[in-house]
Amino acid sequence: MIQPHGGTLINKVLPKVEKNRILEEIDEFDKISVNSETIIVIKNIAFGVFSPLEGFMHYNNYRYVLEHMYLENNVAWPFPITLDVSEEETKKLKPDDQIILTDSEGNPIALMMIDDIYGYDKKEYTEKTFGTLDRKHPGVDSVFNYKEKLIGGEIFLINEPEMYFPELNLKPIETRVLFKEKGWDSVVAFQTRNPPHIGHEGVQKAALTNADGLFINPVIGKKQKGDFLDEVIIEAYKALIKEYYPKNRVVMSTFETEMRYAGPKEAIYHAIARKNFGCDHIIIGRDHAGVGDFYGPFDAHDIFDHFPDLGIEPIKFRSFSKCSKCDAVVNDKICPHPPEMQNYFAGREIRAALQEGKPPDREVMRPEVAEVILKYKNPFVI
């Protein structure tokens, strides 16, 4: 099986004895409250999803990543993973301090050992991460709302945050044991934010043909208005897998992460996380993790050429469609027929049908999948 990124699967969960000691002395520590997105980052670091990161980036890594998309120890990493704090909060902090990161209600989440506290240029951060300063880009807007300073340092998880869909939320060590138990050596990951249509199924099955297993890994968490609800995506996939996939070849587990919409760089980030889950391939489609017109449709394909040492390989699909002449689901590499003969599984049309309470055409979406979605009065985030 593929090795974790950087060679070691990181585990930053505080052992029980140490945890109890910290909790007994909790009043002695300075505390900083963090938001729910940061708690998800902490969880991902602690469970090794972000291996080799062991905490929030200190200044040197921040700079190396911005400049080169590599950590200072020469391991690829596409964008900063940082913790922002206010000027006021930094007054009580200094390097080598140990502090407690809490949720908004004051519950302890993690212990952090502060390496450094540093200023940063938000314009540089956003431009080098997202390739734009346009605040219409949700990632840019998010960084411009960060507090004035960043702090770097190792974290140790004290209390495991509540998870959405705990029965489907596998950690990297769990997926790795699972893949080993199934005898899978080659595993292809599929990242999704939508219920599956026939095109998705075509992509996944084409990729699975040359792998031992398929890892369907929907991103759940904070969504934008109009996105499908997490439970709709999960139930739709359960229906598809039950009816149309060989049981011993597919695993579905959720991936809790904030979407930064960094397009090509986010594709690298998604690939690294899936490598840590034990996948050696990841499917990268058109405009992966993009938003609006900020990135070219195949920028997320091209960026992999700059990371020959990534370990996980992208399987790049430009487009999938139903060709009326071939009478089959095809892609641009295998079908010679013109666009007017292709049905590209337009998301907008699928949504329109579902919003009217109608199942999309069965050539576009499996009836069992449509049936599950239509059970929801409103399958979209309001």
Binding site: N60, R63, E67, G119, E167, I173, R176, E181, P308
Partner: protein
């Protein structure tokens, strides 16, 4: 404490025999790399990555951890 202006990503110079540089330049043609430095950096990263992969070619978990995880996977219905 570090402040932004205190740190810069640093580079250094490495000496390479001229005949080797000529070979590298020949090899680089048509690759799209903008300079010998960027090509050599790419090659070195590949070599180091391969070495590190060999060094770390061990399981990411112990037998004890594996047994514990298997029980949870059974409880969740992922394995029989």
């Amino acid at each position: 404490m570090s402040e932004e202006d205190d740190h810069k990503v640093e580079y250094t110079t490495v000496s390479i025999p001229i005949p080797l540089i000529m070979k590298i330049k020949e090899r680089m043609k048509g690759t799209g790399f903008p300079s010998v430095s960027s090509y050599v950096t790419y090659v070195l990263r590949q070599v180091l990555s391969s070495i590190e992969e060999d060094e770390h070619s061990k399981e990411a978990f112990t037998k004890e951890e594996e047994d514990k995880v298997k029980q949870r996977l059974r409880d969740l219905g992922y394995i029989d």
